[in-house]
Symmetry: C2
Subunit: 304 residues, 2 copies
């Protein structure tokens, strides 16, 4: 199966600690790397995970709190020192460019590549990126400032060729894409082999949703329905549910409620408050609602 | 003796690696903490060194390259989250405020403390900070952009009271400062005890100089004469002397030449290029010129 996996670079919350970095992760879709959030130190976390800094062409920023974007300048500056040429595309709320363009101009006066900022309407559930195999949608979240999550959804995949049919019918290579697109195959003697004898159904397209930071917000459930993997913030346990409401964050139980109601495949919780020395309390509370939950941790790579 | 020591938080050069952080260090003068440079991640390096983030009231920035200042916003933002009240003073070239004030205003809209930027004339050797026990001077350096080092010099210290004299002559506490300032002491019977019988000479004031980043620049030798400890950048070994010139950096041998010519007590070299897996080559080349040289390393604390 084509690669589709997530690597956690950081899953702490506002105060970076020796245990957790700020928010950052790599979404790898068929060896195309997407960076989601970029806390201070992300360039070093990438090195620690042996990801070359110039592997990413697209960076998605959820919101403009420092623990989600203070690593941007260091990343861009080092990419420049490493001689990057490929354009870098940064997606996020509108203020991103007005804040960071002056720093790029000052700190990287001889930038060897273009940085393009793509304003994202954080209130909309809309396409923000698209390529041949993937669509990325914004997910409106409820935080103290404009904030959105991102949904990575594979495009419908092509069916598989049945084993042995290419040899059996001597199908030329140039015909294979047509057959995968649904055509039958006509033998030299005029006999038609129907498509269903040549192919097996495509794998269902996979999807990954990143939701951080947000108040418990059931409005997003329809956007998350049936996603294979959901990363949802779980800053607090039940003991601090009032703080979650006050600061527009979620408890682990609320994250699990979203996961259950959206019927997701697996829930990964993160954005842990530094007050929990043992995050198993968060895991346990989530699992009472949605058993297939796991804790995010730095350097975890998880298939979608 | 009153504390005067330096703790290295980071001593790498432009490309942060898993071995070295970017430039940052703490100068502790009598338990007053001064931060010198503030590379990305400095707030975490401070935690790793168990320095409370709100211990520092003064930050000195040598120049506006990212590996010396990209940690500023994270530091300020976290200080704010930690409820800092004390004003923060930041010293550095003029552009510092125009670059960082918009970020402070945006990312910390409810800042609980004042941040004051103090423009430093990087071309001058002048006083940039002063308190009862310390004067900090700028040291003009030659780099690709405006850049200065900082010289921390203790003010002249008071003489010590000779052991036993307070008891012997029954000297009241309120008289001790006068005697340390040079006065004699008159006994109740009118007899005068001359000052030299009451005191021993003060310790000579100590000094620490931080010089990073710079081309080999003998013009600074007179400013560094007799300093107890000199941190001087040594980005390259002799093998890359041409690169040192090209990028306005120094070799280890050049750093040692400055140290020798300024007759400093000890030389600490740092700002190592990531190309040296074994920095002993830098140490050896420096020691051929100035034997009392040591390599900086993260978490090293060294008395001045």
């Amino acid at each position: 199966m084509e690669k589709f996996e997530v690597t956690i670079l950081g899953c702490g919350s506002a105060l970076p600690t020796r245990r957790h970095n700020g928010s950052a992760q790599i979404v790898n879709v068929r060896e195309k790397y997407f960076l989601v959030d970029c806390a201070e130190g992300t360039q070093v976390f990438l090195r620690e995970n042996r990801v070359h800094l110039n592997r990413m062409n697209h960076v998605f920023i959820s919101h403009l709190h420092g623990d989600h974007c203070f690593g941007l300048m260091g990343l861009i500056s080092t990419q420049n020192l490493l001689g990057r040429i490929a354009p870098l595309h940064i997606y996020g709320s509108e203020a991103l460019e007005s804040l960071f363009r002056p720093h790029i101009n000052y700190f990287c006066p001889n930038l060897t590549f273009d940085v393009t900022f793509h304003p994202v309407d954080t209130h909309a559930h809309a396409v923000v990126y698209e390529d041949n195999s993937l669509t990325v949608y914004s997910i409106p979240l409820k935080h103290r400032i404009r904030c959105c999550g991102y949904l990575f959804r594979e495009k419908p995949l092509k069916p598989h060729m049945r084993q042995g049919v290419i040899q059996q019918y001597d199908i030329p290579t140039w015909q294979i894409n047509n057959i995968k697109a649904g055509e039958d195959f006509t033998l030299p003697n005029g006999e038609v082999v129907p498509n269903h004898l040549l192919t097996t159904p495509a794998n269902p397209p996979r999807s990954y949703a990143y939701c951080s930071d947000t108040l418990y917000n059931p409005d997003i459930v329809p956007m998350l329905t049936d996603v294979n993997l959901l990363y949802h913030e779980a800053t607090y346990a039940d003991d601090n549910a009032a703080l979650a409401t006050k600061y527009f964050h979620s408890t682990a139980r609320q994250a699990a409620t979203i996961a259950r109601d959206a019927n997701v495949g697996k829930l990964l919780i993160g954005h842990f408050s530094q007050r929990y020395d043992d995050e198993n309390i968060l895991l346990q509370e989530a699992q009472t609602v949605f058993p297939n939950t796991m804790l995010a941790r730095e350097r975890l790579t998880i298939p979608v």
